[in-house]
C-alpha cells in the first residue's frame, strides 16, 4: 500500500521542511509573546485612546484571513515606490521576513486579546490588597497581576500556539519550503497521496501532540497550587512565591 521507497527518498526533504517549520514557529512565538504582553497591559486599561487603538488593531487582524494578510505584505508592499526605494526593501522581498511578519502580526492580535482578557479578570481584591501593603504599581503588575493572569491565560495560549503551528502551513504559498511545501512537491512529482500528505499529516500530528504535552506540563507547573492531589505537598517558599518564573 505505502511505497516506502518514495518515503525514504523524500525523508531528507521532509526533515529540512520540519526544520523550517520549527524555525518559523519559534521566531513567530517569541516575537509574538514579546509584543503581546505590553499590548495586553495597555489593552486592559479602561477607556484610554491607546487601549482603543490596540482594540482596533486586534479587531481588524482578527476579522481578516491570515492568507490575505500574508498576501498584503508579500505581494502588496511592492506596489509602493517608497517601499521599493527604502532600505527595508530587501526585507519585504524576502518570503521569510514576510511570512514571519504576517504570522507575528496575526498571533499578536489573538494573544493580546487572550492576555488582556486574563488580566481583566484579576480579582479586584488582590490588587487592592497589594496596593494597601504598599507595593508600587509596577510591583503589583509584576508580582500580582501578571502571574495570575498568565496562569489563567495558559490553556488558551496553548491553543493559540498550536493554531500558529498549523498556520505555518500557509507559508508554503509564498515559496518557503516547510513541511507543507515539501508534501505538495512530493505529490506533484510522484502523484501519490499517502507518501506526500500522509507523511506531512504524521509530522503535524506529532507536533500537535508534542505542543499539547508541553503545555500540559506548563499548566501542571504553573497551576500546581490548584491541583488537589499535590497541594498539601507543595511547599512554596515565600521568596519563590514573589518571584514566579514566567515563561
Amino acid at each position: 500500500m505505502i511505497d516506502w521507497e518514495i518515503v525514504a527518498e523524500n525523508l531528507p526533504a521532509f526533515a529540512g521542511g520540519l526544520v523550517n517549520t520549527l524555525i518559523l514557529l519559534a521566531t513567530v512565538i517569541v516575537s509574538g509573546f514579546t509584543i503581546s504582553v505590553p499590548l495586553a497591559l495597555v489593552r486592559s486599561t479602561r477607556s484610554s485612546y491607546v487601549s482603543r487603538a490596540v482594540w482596533l488593531f486586534t479587531y481588524v487582524i482578527r476579522g481578516t484571513p491570515l492568507l490575505v494578510q500574508l498576501f498584503i505584505i508579500y505581494y502588496g508592499m511592492a506596489q509602493f515606490e517608497f517601499v521599493r526605494s527604502s532600505a527595508l526593501w530587501p526585507l519585504f522581498r524576502s518570503p521569510w521576513f514576510c511570512a514571519w511578519l504576517a504570522l507575528t502580526i496575526n498571533t499578536v492580535a489573538y494573544t493580546t486579546e487572550i492576555f488582556a482578557g486574563a488580566i481583566r479578570t484579576t480579582a479586584p481584591g488582590e490588587i487592592e490588597a497589594a496596593r494597601s501593603i504598599g507595593l508600587s504599581r509596577a510591583a503589583v503588575l509584576r508580582y500580582v497581576i501578571w502571574p495570575s493572569a498568565w496562569r489563567r491565560a495558559l490553556p488558551q495560549y496553548g491553543n493559540e500556539v498550536v493554531m500558529m503551528m498549523h498556520a505555518t502551513a500557509l507559508a508554503s504559498t509564498v515559496t518557503i519550503v516547510e513541511v507543507m511545501r515539501v508534501a505538495r512537491d512530493v505529490y506533484t512529482n510522484y502523484l501519490v497521496l499517502t507518501e506526500s500528505f500522509g507523511v506531512a499529516a504524521a509530522i503535524y500530528l506529532c507536533l500537535t501532540i508534542g505542543l499539547t504535552a508541553l503545555f500540559r506540563r506548563l499548566e501542571k507547573h504553573f497551576l500546581r497550587h490548584l491541583s488537589r492531589s499535590e497541594a498539601p505537598n507543595a511547599k512554596v517558599q515565600p521568596a519563590e512565591r514573589l518571584n514566579p518564573k514566567v515563561a
Partner: protein, 229 residues
C-alpha cells in the same frame, strides 16, 4: 481602473459567502451526527467520533483540504476507470465546501456535544414520560434548548470558517482571494485589491457578529439572567 474590477471582486464575494454558508450547513449536519455519536452512541460510534475530532483538529486546514481535493480526484479517477466514464474533474467548489464542512464539523461536534449535555436530563425524561417519540424529543425538546448553548460556539466557528474559505483559492476556486490575485496581476496594484478584500472580510465579520448577537438574544428569550441579582 479600480472601479472596473469592483464588480468582479463582488462576484467573488458571492462565491466566498456561498462557500461559507454551504460549508456551515454541512458542518452543522456533521456536528450534530458527531455529537449524537459521542453522547448517545455505542463504543464504536464514540471511538470513531473521537478519532475524527482529534485528528482533524490536530492538522492544518490546508492539509486536510488538499488531501480531500487530490484524494477525491484519485477516487473519482479509479471509479470512472472502472466504469469507463473517461476523465472526470473534481469540482473545486464541491471539494472546497466538503472539506471546510468536514474540518469544521469536528469543531461543531464538540460545540454541540457540550450543548446537548447542558440540557437537563429531566427534560428528556419528561418528554419520554409524555409518550413522545425519540424524534419528537430530539426535535421539540432537545434542539430548541441546546441551540441557546450552541450559539456562542457556532458564532465562533462561523467567524473562523469565513476566514478559512480564503484557502479555497489555493485549490483553484474562483473566490474573492483568487479574483483579487487576478486583478492585482492585471493592474500591478496588489496592495489595493488585497486590502480591499481584507476590508470586505472585515465588514462581513462585523455584520455576522451583530447578526449572531441577535440570534443569541432570540434563542435565550425566556431565560432569566443571573446578572440582575
Amino acid at each position: 481602473m479600480f472601479q472596473s474590477y469592483l464588480p468582479m471582486i463582488l462576484e467573488g464575494l458571492r462565491v466566498t459567502l456561498s462557500v461559507a454558508s454551504v460549508s456551515l450547513a454541512i458542518a452543522c449536519v456533521i456536528g450534530l451526527i458527531g455529537a449524537s455519536a459521542k453522547v448517545y452512541g455505542g463504543m464504536a460510534a464514540r471511538l470513531s467520533a473521537t478519532v475524527y475530532t482529534t485528528t482533524v483538529r490536530a492538522l492544518p486546514d490546508l492539509l486536510v483540504m488538499l488531501v480531500v481535493f487530490y484524494g477525491g480526484q484519485i477516487l473519482l479517477n479509479s471509479i470512472s476507470d472502472k466504469y469507463g466514464w473517461g476523465y472526470l474533474d473534481v469540482d473545486p467548489y464541491i471539494a472546497g465546501v466538503s472539506t471546510i464542512g468536514f474540518v469544521f464539523g469536528a469543531y461543531l461536534t464538540e460545540t454541540f456535544r457540550g450543548a446537548i449535555l447542558s440540557v437537563p436530563a429531566g427534560q428528556i425524561e419528561a418528554g419520554f414520560a409524555y409518550g413522545l417519540s425519540r424524534f419528537q424529543v430530539a426535535f421539540y425538546i432537545l434542539l430548541p434548548q441546546m441551540i441557546r448553548h450552541a450559539v456562542p460556539g457556532l458564532t465562533n466557528t462561523w467567524l473562523v470558517m469565513l476566514k478559512a474559505t480564503a484557502l479555497v483559492s489555493i485549490i483553484g476556486l474562483d473566490d474573492m482571494v483568487h479574483r483579487a490575485g487576478l486583478a492585482s496581476a492585471a493592474t500591478r496594484e496588489p496592495f489595493t485589491f488585497y486590502a480591499l478584500i481584507g476590508l470586505i472580510y472585515l465588514a462581513v465579520t462585523t455584520f455576522s457578529v451583530l447578526l449572531f448577537g441577535a440570534l443569541e438574544k432570540v434563542s435565550s428569550r425566556g431565560v432569566r439572567s443571573g446578572g440582575a441579582a
